[in-house]
């Protein structure tokens, strides 16, 4: 690659080294914080009160609590449902369908749709939460169009169907990312291949399913993994819409972590939840590393 004998570099090694110093320190801090999260998970540290100063080591007690008390396993299951339906089924499939359909259409319609779905993606999480709370409220848009004209009593969606509404809101918010990625990937498929399939009599469906999809499979895998990890730890939208409720219906792991650590003040137990999340994300990341290293 680059040879070491570049005089403007070798004569300035000190300056270059100093330039790297701030970044190295910050990365070291990040590693240090991660190690700290592990250490905290073996203590009974609290946010306020005597346990905030006078904490002690409690061994694996916090981790036992994860599996023996109610809360963690339910949250994990809620998170799995949330990730599966909003990220994998919703954003990924919808994003791909849009990218595949829009590839051949007139550029005007294409840019209108791109702007529409980008608006959802660019909107700050809290505004999106506010918007969807209003849209699904008893006086909101969905009731005004689909429920009240038929003489039915208005439905309080956010109370009665909390998890599905949160999932829909997240699909609305996140599809643009998958769309952009899949469009870029589909653009990299050469036109000749698709044309050849067309000449051979492949239907549009076959052209997508049998020709384009296998070619962009690495991109699909990467995207799936990325949005799985992001959605797994996604906090603001759900928290601002429901706070984890009603009951614990929408308490995903990130919300559970926040509620335990900062609403109830159990920082030790909260750290154990962090560690569990880090382990799960770490395992997923290892899969990602393997995919990067594999020759495509």
């Amino acid at each position: 690659m680059k040879n070491q004998a570049n005089p403007w570099l070798t004569s300035n090694l000190l300056v270059l080294g100093l330039g790297m110093l701030p970044a190295a320190l910050l990365i070291a801090a990040l590693l240090y914080f991660t190690a700290w999260a592990f250490a905290f998970s073996f203590t009974d540290l609290a946010l306020v009160g005597t346990k905030a100063v006078d904490w002690s080591w409690v061994g694996f007690q916090n981790f036992e609590r994860l599996f023996t008390r109610r809360g963690f396993l339910e949250s994990l299951w809620t998170t799995v449902i949330f990730v599966f339906f909003s990220a994998l089924v919703g954003q990924s499939v919808l994003g791909f369908l849009l990218a595949a359909t829009l590839r051949g259409t007139a550029s005007r319609l294409k840019s209108v749709i791109e702007v529409c779905i980008m608006l959802g993606w660019l909107l700050p999480d809290i505004v999106a939460a506010f918007l969807w709370s209003a849209t699904t409220s008893q006086t909101g848009l969905i009731n005004a169009i689909f429920v009240r004209p038929f003489g039915l009593p208005p439905i309080n969606f956010i109370n009665d169907y909390a998890l599905p509404i949160v999932i829909i809101a997240n699909i609305w918010k996140g599809t643009a990312w998958s769309y952009l990625l899949f469009s870029a990937a589909l653009d990299s498929v050469s036109r000749e291949v698709v044309e050849a399939a067309k000449v051979d009599g492949a239907t549009p469906f076959q052209r997508i399913w049998l020709v384009q999809l296998p070619i962009i499979r690495p991109h699909i895998a990467t995207n799936m993994l990325f949005i799985t990890i992001w959605t797994f730890t996604y906090f603001p939208l759900i928290y601002a819409m429901t706070g984890g409720g009603p009951g614990r219906q929408t308490e995903t792991l990130a919300v559970f972590l926040y509620n335990q650590s900062f609403a109830r003040g159990n920082l030790g137990f909260g750290s154990a939840i962090s560690v569990a999340m880090l382990v799960i994300v770490g395992l997923l990341s290892l899969v990602y590393l393997r995919m990067l290293r594999e020759p495509k």
């Binding site: 970044a23 990365i27 660019l122 952009l180 995207n223 990890i229 730890t233 650590s261 999340m277 990341s285």
Partner: protein
């Protein structure tokens, strides 16, 4: 041929329908924001006015806007400066352990902020940084693996021959970096800056934990606090406030759109 035209027309109709569904939630936001007598209902306003917007830029709301701006611009600028000064040597020098370091970054990039939330809070509390500056530093730390990797990838694409030529002409390291490397990776730097800016502008969790006083709230926390209140909610104010809060992130994207699209493929597909 006939059936082909019909299919494409059907597709166009389906797509337009979808676009309408996609933007329909905004109807409520717009109708209420421009209605001075807003009640939070979905209704056509009897009069249209900008009173709500006047309210949403003054007093407390104005301060929250400035806080958000400080956090977002501070994080983006700090990330880019720290990132550039480390990414250039990383891209050009063959430092021992470089590959191990890069793989560590790829792994750290996936690290969820939730995972280090408690230690971050503790460190900030000890250092007296439970304020906007603490948020800036924390966000920069969390951003850095991604920023570094991306900038290094962009610097890798700058041909080293240009730098050699400049050196022969008598340019110093500083001149080489500022006159050749940075201008040539302008698009990439813009993408990194934009990502850090919008990320910090939208950030909710860290300011929620770090902001002890109402004066320190950025818009995300301010909006959350306001619509979480029970009782008399001023919907006109909140909707106008939401629009102002959303505008910079949306605006910056459309300003940088051309740069973004070149940068995007690299962001998602490769590490």
């Amino acid at each position: 041929m006939e059936s082909n035209a019909t299919t494409s027309r059907l597709t166009a109709i389906a797509l337009s329908f979808m676009a309408v569904i996609w933007v329909s939630p905004f109807s409520w936001l717009i109708l209420n924001a421009f209605n001075p007598m807003s009640t939070g209902q979905l209704e056509i306003p009897k009069s249209i006015g900008l009173d709500n917007f006047a309210l949403a830029v003054s007093g407390n709301a104005g301060r929250q806007f400035l806080n958000s701006l400080l956090i977002a611009a501070g994080t983006a600028t700090l990330s880019v400066v720290v990132g550039i000064s480390a990414a250039y040597p990383l891209s050009r020098l063959r430092i021992p352990g470089r590959n191990a370091f890069l793989w560590t970054l790829v792994l750290l990039r996936m690290l969820p902020s939730a995972g280090v939330l408690v230690p971050l809070y503790f460190a900030a509390q000890r250092g007296g940084l439970l304020n906007q500056f603490g948020v800036i530093i924390a966000l920069t730390i969390l951003n850095l693996p991604f920023t570094l990797l991306l900038l290094k990838n962009f610097f890798d694409t700058v041909p080293i021959e240009l730098e050699e030529a400049a050196y022969v002409e008598g340019a110093t390291l500083f001149q080489i970096v500022t006159r050749i490397v940075l201008p040539m990776s302008r698009a990439g730097i813009a993408v990194v800056w934009f990502f850090s800016f919008t990320g910090a502008w939208n950030e909710f969790l860290l300011p929620l934990i770090f902001s002890r006083v109402q004066d320190g709230f950025p818009m995300s926390v301010g909006l959350y606090a306001a619509f979480g209140q029970q009782g008399a909610i001023n919907y006109g104010f909140l909707t106008a406030f939401s629009i102002i809060y959303a505008a910079p992130a949306v605006g910056v994207y459309f300003l940088l759109r051309r740069n973004m699209n070149t940068g995007f493929a690299g962001v998602g597909v490769k590490g």
